[in-house]
């Protein structure tokens, strides 16, 4: 099932970037979260993409994106 809730930061509004087809039928969809940039395929195992079961160690805090450092500063 395709959901537009991000498995990583739980924001809504994911956009569809691509659909894979096999014999004319859509077999999976690649989505991207505009908040945290997580990209995923809706056919992936739940532990990688389902916010209900995905490891919290790899969550991104959508409310505090400032905490992530910027590389190559002058």
């Amino acid at each position: 099932m395709t959901t537009t809730i991000c498995g990583r930061c739980k924001s809504s509004g994911a956009v569809t970037d691509h659909q894979g087809r096999q014999d004319g039928a859509v077999v999976w969809t690649i989505l991207r979260c505009p908040t945290c940039n997580f990209s995923w395929r809706d056919s992936e195992p739940a532990r990688a993409i389902d916010p209900a079961v995905r490891s919290a160690d790899f969550a991104v805090d959508a409310g505090d994106l400032q905490r992530y450092p910027k590389i190559l500063q002058q």
Partner: protein, 484 residues
């Protein structure tokens, strides 16, 4: 296959190399249906368990990517590296090391230029409605990666402040995360050539164009990852090290690229912009953090007809990353050390890009190996990467860990250890106190010279040589014969 050296020198593309590998039983085609996740990862990991003999795997039936081809593990075993160097399967790592070290500085570069219209890489061209997902059968390399990564891209660029200088063109391997249909982030650090170029372009407000080459001459993938001087051309270096010509052409955005690559993505840096990137399962076997990285906009894509997307499995070792860069991390350190200390007899920096290195040396005087270790830390690669150094005598093969453990067990005293605190460290070393800063360890496992009062023990000298080799072979044959 007596013509292996000539055959290796005649390779000009990934396709040529895959053909050579296939003829040698070192490439297989995976035609059963496979899901991008977790199928491709599972198969790549299973193959990389065999560091000595794993074949390259070409997938041609990935679900949702009909007609597309993906290659992994092209440099995924020592046998594949041996064939690239014109040596037979079964060549030892030590022999491969000396094959590389012997080529250092020995050959002339042979560079030729092919008109764009005749370059295979430009057979197909996309300039409108670019969607990288239409071209590349991507998959999540490790399960908590932040997105779909291109892990084996050779990125070519010109110095933005000296764009006409051939030598200052940079070719390096950087990880790229696809950020929507026509954008990607590139991860680098200020000390890498690409990091320098991005910072220079942003400081001066000038355009930085790059060409991302995928599915390349297998020699470039090896040598573009080798730390050489900023003003040395990686193309010239790769050609010299292969002892073979390299064919270049121009990308649509004016950068010198390999004429026979499978795919080239042309892109422009978005000055000053940063996007969230990562995590990515990196070579120390742990995930990088999430950071804001420079972003590039794709302006065009060229590719051969029916292109092969080449990617890599990288993560907790042993992986293709280790066989791809291990020897070519070790050989420059060896060459640079020998300029000061010809007593150095071999360098093994295979482990996690040299986070641990083993150096064999003929001790000139008591404590000499420690001096050599300190010199190793000041080589270009040593500055950031050589974290743990084990020094052994010349009678120990640093590529044979059983011998190294013997030296550690019998020749190391607890006070033969030096800890250098608060040194530079590669930011993704998970043991660093803070990213970019950590401690160094030198273990002197060499024997004792005067004025040390102990001296060398009376060593057992097991028989070696042709007679023992022949006996070993006969035992093996008898063992195999017992099965038939």
């Amino acid at each position: 296959m007596n013509d292996l050296p000539n055959r290796a020198r005649s390779i000009s593309s990934l396709r040529d190399f895959l053909e050579l590998l296939e003829d040698s039983g070192q490439a297989i085609t995976w035609s059963d249906p496979v899901m991008p996740e977790p199928g491709v990862r599972n198969i790549a990991v299973a193959a990389s368990r065999d560091a000595n003999g794993a074949p390259a795997i070409v997938f041609d039936n990935i679900t949702g990517y009909p007609g597309k081809r993906l290659a992994v593990g092209v440099h995924g075993s020592w046998d594949n590296i041996a064939l690239l160097l014109g040596r037979p399967k079964g060549t030892t790592i030590r022999e491969l090391f000396f094959e590389i070290a012997g080529r250092w500085g020995d050959q002339e570069a042979q560079i030729s230029f092919v008109p764009e219209a005749q370059a295979p890489v430009h057979e197909c061209r996309i300039e409108q409605d670019i969607n990288l997902y239409d071209v590349l059968p991507v998959y999540r390399i490790n399960e908590y990666d932040g997105g779909f990564y291109i892990g084996k891209a050779s990125v070519a660029s010109r110095d933005p402040l000296d764009p006409d200088n051939f030598g200052k063109q940079n070719v390096g391997i950087y990880r790229l995360q696809i950020q929507g249909p026509d954008s990607f982030t590139l991860m680098t650090i200020p000390s890498h050539d690409m990091g320098r170029q991005i910072m220079a372009a942003e400081r001066e407000g000038v355009l930085l164009k790059i060409a991302v080459m995928l599915g390349n001459h297998p020699g470039l993938a090896v040598f573009a990852a080798t730390p050489i001087g900023y003003e040395e051309s990686e193309y010239s270096y790769a050609s010299a090290m292969m002892g073979a010509p390299i064919r270049l052409t121009k990308s649509g955005n004016g950068i010198d690229i390999l004429a026979d690559s499978e795919i080239v993505i042309e892109a422009e840096l978005q000055l000053g912009e940063r996007e969230l990137e990562g995590p990515f399962g990196e070579f120390p076997g742990s995930y990088s953090g999430v950071r804001k990285a420079p972003i590039f906009k794709v302006t065009a894509v060229s590719h051969r007809r029916d292109p092969i997307f080449e990617n890599i499995y990288i993560g907790r070792g042993w992986t293709e990353h280790d066989t791809l860069i291990g020897l070519h991390t070790s050989a420059p350190i060896y060459a640079q050390l020998r300029q000061s200390f010809p007593e150095v007899t071999a360098v093994n920096a295979l482990y996690q890009h040299g986070l641990t290195g083993i150096i064999s040396v003929k001790n000139r005087m008591a404590g000499f190996a420690k001096t050599v270790a300190l010199r190793a830390l000041s080589t270009p690669h040593g500055v950031m990467y050589l974290k743990n150094l084990i020094m052994v005598d010349a009678d120990v093969d640093p590529f044979d860990l059983n011998q190294v453990m013997w030296a550690l067990s019998t020749r190391t005293r607890a006070d033969d250890i030096i800890v250098l605190p608060n040194m530079p460290a590669v930011p993704i070393d998970p043991s660093a106190v803070v990213p970019g800063k950590g401690h160094r360890l030198i273990i002197d496992a060499t024997s004792y010279l005067p004025p040390d009062p102990v001296g060398e023990a009376h060593l057992v000298t097991p028989p070696t040589g042709d007679e023992i080799d022949a006996l070993s072979k006969r035992i093996r044959e008898m063992q195999l014969g017992a099965l038939s």
